[in-house]
């Protein structure tokens, strides 16, 4: 079993549990396997994959097919324009 801590940002915030956002590690998601691909996190939160532009695992940029394991922290961002 793996517990992955997930935070979502910008317009993707609406896919998360509101009271968990902004409180430290984010919302916990439990997976059966010991490790999962980060892309499997998106459907659990009903986030369309195409809406995800940027993913960070434990504070470092990661690919959508990167692995996450128990205790990892995942941050999910939409496409941003401007600056």
């Amino acid at each position: 079993m793996a517990v992955v801590w997930v935070r979502t940002y910008g317009s993707l915030s609406s896919y998360s549990v509101e009271e968990d956002v902004g409180k430290g590690d984010g919302a916990p998601l439990v997976f059966q396997g010991r490790r999962v691909k980060v892309g499997e996190v998106f459907p659990r939160l009903h986030i369309p994959e195409e809406a995800v532009s940027f993913v960070a695992i434990n504070g470092a940029k990661a690919a959508k097919d990167a692995w996450v394991t128990d205790g990892d922290k995942v941050a999910i961002f939409p496409l941003v324009a401007g600056g």
Binding site: G10, S11, G22, A60, A75, P78, G83
Partner: protein
């Protein structure tokens, strides 16, 4: 057509106020905002003018979309010659001044000369007065705005400078609606040099749109399908602090004067930390997005802090105390100081001090001293007298040029080019110096899918971004609406009553970019000036994805050569006669 076809020209030396026709031919080639303002400045200024002399001009420009219901069309362009760089300076400021200027009946305001004593300009439709600002001089932007609202009513919109602009600090800004700024390149000190404390404007006239039913339908559709989408709503929901974590995770978050790209305190100043402290939001004129997020902490309130402020006055100064950053930000807003430049100045001074090269009495993370700096700099008091000169001049006097993080005299924004090579080219070639508002390829590289550590295709990526923003900021539209050129073409065709194709807009974007370059070439700038601080080429980043990376000098040179070639410029970075002919310039 949505133009008013009128320029208001005010000469503060003679006290004359004139209303004259807008050059129709130029609007067809340069539209408004950045492009049209640059055209007027290029034609009227001549080369070699001292930026803080009465000969320099301050040009405030609306665009064809200003004052209409087109979303995100509330910005005003302010064009001048920069005292920080000696080259073209184009700034944009949100709020509702641009719409009021148009409603008062003017497409453009040109301010010339220099008043004998402090004045402010009051515009109410056809009534234009130069009034004494004796009671306002020396006041901060917040008090200045409040007093002018008392005198002219809350409907009047104010642009003003603080003590930094009055004292001619080369990174003084112009403020409006308390927390919005035309921030960069010392535009506030140009206003200060003219002894112009403020401009107050209110208008009651119409903006005529030839085909209003079509525009209404276009705007309805755009808001539903193109504006309020995930790509843009991040600016409303999380605001620019969303970028803190992306930037830090990508290793491009400027930390301790760009010595690192990952800040250990980023979690304390990211969107999560800020989100819960926001009491309300605000939008500019005609904006459906509403990116203005207020934050109250302790006894300080700001609209922001925005990403650039968190990056440069936070991580770049080694400060992770959000309350301190907000207080610093509020002081800068009131004094009229650009936070990007001051954050760089302090980061540079901190590194110089810690390396023992020159003791400026401030070290990374020293919050107590840091909080005193905006005031010291704005009044040129104590160590502020030296620091107020900006990074480039400090390095000239005391050394440290290799880590003076500036391009052409303008301090760098918050994206380290060692982790986003195209961003390096964008900084090196931006018309006003180290600037992120001409092209923002970091979104495609560090925050996107493109490999940040290759130069392949990057020259074209930067050029495309520069042309896109050149036309977008000439119409004028806000950078937070990531609209297509097709949508731009539909909107502008509707307000002008003639069809403007995507190809025509793209050509205008290139024309405007070449015009900005011509201005700088006339001032003597050459290919050698299109460069980056030596740190970017020599000092590898320490942490995160780009750990161990530099932007290799030879790779940068190749990218720059390809950039000139694709642009049809000569090897010295000047537009060729053939290119100018092609662009009908």
């Amino acid at each position: 057509m949505s133009y008013r076809w009128k320029i208001l020209r005010v000469n503060l030396s003679t006290g004359s106020v004139a209303k004259e026709p807008l050059n129709k031919g130029w609007t067809e080639k340069y539209f408004g905002g950045r492009g049209l303002g640059a055209k007027y400045l290029y034609e009227e200024l001549g080369g070699g003018v001292e930026p803080l002399s009465p000969e320099n001009k301050l040009i405030l420009v609306t665009g064809p979309l200003t004052g209409t219901i087109v979303p995100c069309s509330g910005k005003l362009a302010i064009i001048s010659k920069s005292p920080a760089t000696g080259i073209i300076l184009d700034c944009a400021i949100g709020g509702s001044f641009a719409a009021q200027l148009k409603f008062a009946g003017y497409d453009m305001l040109i301010v010339e000369g220099q008043a004998e004593k402090p004045v402010y300009l009051a515009i109410n439709d056809d009534d234009v007065e130069i009034r004494s600002a004796a009671h306002l001089w020396g006041k901060g932007i917040f008090e200045t705005e409040s007093r002018l609202h008392d005198e002219h009513g809350m409907e009047a919109v104010v642009l003003s400078i603080g003590p930094a602009g009055e004292n001619l600090i080369p990174f003084a800004c112009i403020g409006s609606e308390y927390y919005r700024q035309a921030g960069r390149g010392g535009i506030g000190s140009v206003m200060g040099s003219k002894r112009l404390k403020a401009i107050v404007c209110s208008g009651s006239k119409d903006v005529i749109v030839p085909d209003m039913p079509r525009l209404l339908e276009l705007v309805r559709k755009a808001i539903r399908e193109d504006v309020l989408t995930d790509t843009n709503l991040w600016a409303h929901i999380g605001g620019t602090p969303t970028i803190v974590e992306m930037s830090n995770s990508s290793g491009v978050f400027p930390t301790r004067n760009y010595q690192d790209g990952v800040f250990e305190g980023a979690q304390k100043i990211n969107a999560d930390s800020i989100r819960k402290l926001r009491p309300h939001k605000k939008a500019c004129f005609a904006c459906a997005l509403g990116c203005g997020n207020y934050l109250c902490i302790a006894d300080s309130t700001v609209e922001g802090p925005e990403y650039e402020t968190l990056a440069l006055t936070g991580a770049n100064c080694g400060v992770d105390d959000l309350g301190a950053i907000v207080r610093f930000n509020a002081d800068c807003d009131d004094l009229g100081i650009d936070t990007i430049s001051l954050g760089n100045v302090l980061g540079f001074a901190m590194e110089m001090t810690e390396k023992g090269m020159r003791d400026f009495g401030i070290r990374f993370g020293d919050v107590e001293t840091y909080l005193k700096m905006p005031r010291l700099v704005a009044y040129r008091a104590g160590v502020g007298k030296e620091l107020s000169r900006g990074v480039k001049q400090l390095a000239k006097t005391y050394g440290g040029a290799e880590f003076a993080m500036q391009v052409k005299g303008l301090e760098l924004p918050g994206y380290d080019p060692r982790g986003s090579w195209a961003m390096g080219l964008a900084y090196a070639t931006a018309a006003r110096g180290g600037c992120h508002m001409s092209a923002w390829p970091v979104a495609d590289e560090a925050f996107g899918k493109l490999d940040p550590f290759t130069i392949e295709g990057k020259a074209q990526l930067v050029i495309t971004g520069q042309h896109y923003n050149a036309i977008k900021f000439s119409l004028i539209l806000c950078d937070f609406w990531a609209l297509s050129m097709g949508t731009m073409s539909e909107m502008v065709s509707c307000v002008l009553g003639r069809e403007i194709s995507v190809a025509e807009l793209a050509k205008a974007g290139e024309r405007i970019w070449n015009l900005l370059r011509l201005f700088n070439v006339r001032e003597g700038f050459k290919a050698a000036d299109d460069t980056l601080p030596a740190r970017v080429f020599k000092d590898p980043l320490k942490s995160g994805t780009p750990a161990g990376r530099v932007l290799p000098r030879d790779q940068f040179d190749s990218m720059l050569r390809e950039y000139y070639q694709l642009r049809g410029w000569d090897s010295n970075g000047a537009p060729t006669p053939e290119k100018l002919k092609e662009l009908e310039m």
